[in-house]
Symmetry: C2
Subunit: 353 residues, 2 copies
């Protein structure tokens, strides 16, 4: 018998609601001999308003003792922009060295994409063959928080943001992406950057992409500038298999990917530390959506798919597949409006069936 | 009688072909008493291979003496990435202080968008009401070329890119965007940034956006993170009127905008120095497309629409409107495949009719 020590950070807004459904499905799918020990951590806007804390050192140390973290959503309009993002969400990603930020882009059968159909008769059918994964670097680039202001608040203010990129940091995420590409049927890897303008970082990415590629002769590679990549995301998303890119470009591309694969309500993500030295963290790509919070309207599917990634990461591959299959079946049969918990109930029923 | 001194930089690949058509239409639309004095400058990949030069000081000085620049496209796979972009295209934008990089996103009637229709019956119809303009900052941000590498070429390499943002630079582009919003029927302005992560630059943009906004009480404003903005570009592009954003986000969003409004073959741009101290430069958003160069396949419409922006900038508003109307009429009636020069001929005929 095995125990999973799970830290749960519901966070703000709909984070609470969707995490409850994620846990419901997780409980339903786990084999009887696996014990789930989950501890909830109160972090986010409420705690910040109450105590001024975003992520106290003591909590960070406690979180470290877990096998994985399930996170709902962080952020609220009542907190100045950046405080919770930098002080909590990004702090977790950096402190736990989540350098692989994994974000699948898959159009499930039955899901409507905002893209028009590809059929030659021009009929509005849903494209069926979008299935890629973005491997976003999670600990470098413009996200490092390096930069500052001079003459702050005056008409002479200057503000800088420094993107830091290391061969070490790029190599590990690029190698991870090659491995994933190698393991997929199409074996295709696309590097996305802007190496014709951001020449210092861009050339480093390009060099390492080529060097590591020599270890993977079976993987077909190409390169796209980030601007051109956005065009292909809407005109030809089927062309992508595995994409590797930096932290900021990955942030942008994965929201766009979510949009073309049926919306942010279905987009899952894993912030992964492959060494296992620190707990990996799984979260839906969407935000806290304060406008619909507390109304039972949020789609918990993105969180449930993040739970599938969590299961896979912890070695429960069969259970992960079961959750994904349940989501696929549920999406294929969807009709009418269901509440957050109705979707969770339906998925939990499917995985325990 | 008036003379327009136009510098023409056809550049690489299809740049040559599309610029020829742009000039054809320009010649056809100008009133008889306006003299067009155009001088062609050989810049781009061929010159670089021949002489090693990208933009010699002497040429820069000559270009400065013109009323405007018409540019085709820059870039060729035979030249290392970044050499021509930084050494020629961006050098022009920075040297001539093109701080307003204007990029309309308009879906012309008859043009197919890759987005599915909005009709409630789900039929595949083209959305008709996309009409926005992106005001992209052109002289700051991550495009400044500030940064470098340490231990270059080794496994210990570190590369930086520094985004520089000044209150001065932001204020002038933000004010320009407010003025444009104020002059449009919907009077709506959206700031796009990533102020929850890039807090130094983001908060500066946000502060100045709010401050300048007080001068424009009639303009409705909102803010979107760049990742969320990409979602709206594919799910609800009609929501946008004027968008103001930084150099890099503007680069990414305007390619996406081109994609959803019928493709990069129709996307025009102006690199504008509103003071008139330096010549403004007009260019299609697309690249040199070496794969189809020299085959007469390129659509010159983006260049022709850039010529319309050039006319407008030089005070020929009626002629600009005539060119736009010609393009609209041509697009509405398009059928079959036409060569680059056939499209140019058709447009030239329309504006002289
Ligand atoms: C909330 C924000 C800091 C975060 C990011 O930019 O990474 C989010 O957009 C995401 O993609 O997970
Ligand atoms: C070619 C490149 C330097 C340029 C840019 O990044 O600005 C292009 O993508 C554009 O949008 O005009």
């Amino acid at each position: 018998s095995r125990t999973i020590r799970l830290a749960v950070v519901p966070g703000d807004g709909i984070g609470q609601e969707v995490v409850a459904e994620g846990l419901k499905v997780l409980g339903a799918v786990l084999p009887a001999d696996v014990k789930l020990e989950s501890t909830e951590y109160d972090l986010g806007a409420r705690r910040y308003h109450r105590t001024g804390e975003t992520l106290p050192d003591g909590v960070l140390a406690e979180l470290k003792g877990h096998d994985a973290i399930l996170l709902g959503a962080i952020g609220d309009p009542s907190v100045p922009s950046g405080v919770l993002e930098r002080g909590l969400l990004l702090k977790l990603r950096f402190a736990f060295d989540h350098h692989i930020n994994l974000r699948p882009g898959r159009l499930f059968p039955g899901v409507k994409s905002p893209l028009a159909g590809t059929e030659s008769d021009g009929a509005s059918t849903t494209r069926r063959d979008i299935d890629f994964v973005v491997v976003r670097e999670g600990t470098e680039g413009p996200y490092v928080g390096n930069g500052g202001t001079l003459r702050t608040g005056t008409p002479q203010e200057v503000a800088t943001e420094v993107s830091l990129n290391t061969a070490y940091g790029i190599e590990r995420v690029v190698r991870d992406a090659y491995r994933r590409a190698q393991a997929r049927p199409r074996k295709k890897l696309t590097l996305v950057h802007k190496n014709n303008v951001l020449v210092h970082a861009g050339h480093l990415w390009t060099r390492i992409f080529a060097e590591v590629g020599r270890e993977f002769p079976e993987v077909t590679t190409d390169y796209l500038h980030v601007d051109a990549a956005t065009i292909f995301f809407v005109t030809q998303p089927e062309r992508f298999d595995v994409i590797v890119t930096d932290n900021l470009f990955g942030d942008i591309l994965t929201d766009l990917a979510a949009a073309v694969t049926g919306g942010i309500g279905l987009a899952a993500s894993g912030n992964i530390n492959p060494s296992g030295e620190f707990p990996s963290m799984f979260e839906p790509v969407h935000g806290s959506a304060p406008d619909i919070a507390g109304q039972g309207k949020a789609d918990p599917t993105a969180t449930v798919l993040s739970v599938a990634m969590l299961l896979d990461h912890l070695g429960f591959a069969a259970e992960a597949a079961k959750v994904e299959a349940a989501v696929a079946a549920d999406l294929a049969e969807r009709s009418g409006t269901r509440s957050t918990s109705q979707v969770g109930d339906a998925l939990a029923a499917r995985v325990s069936g």
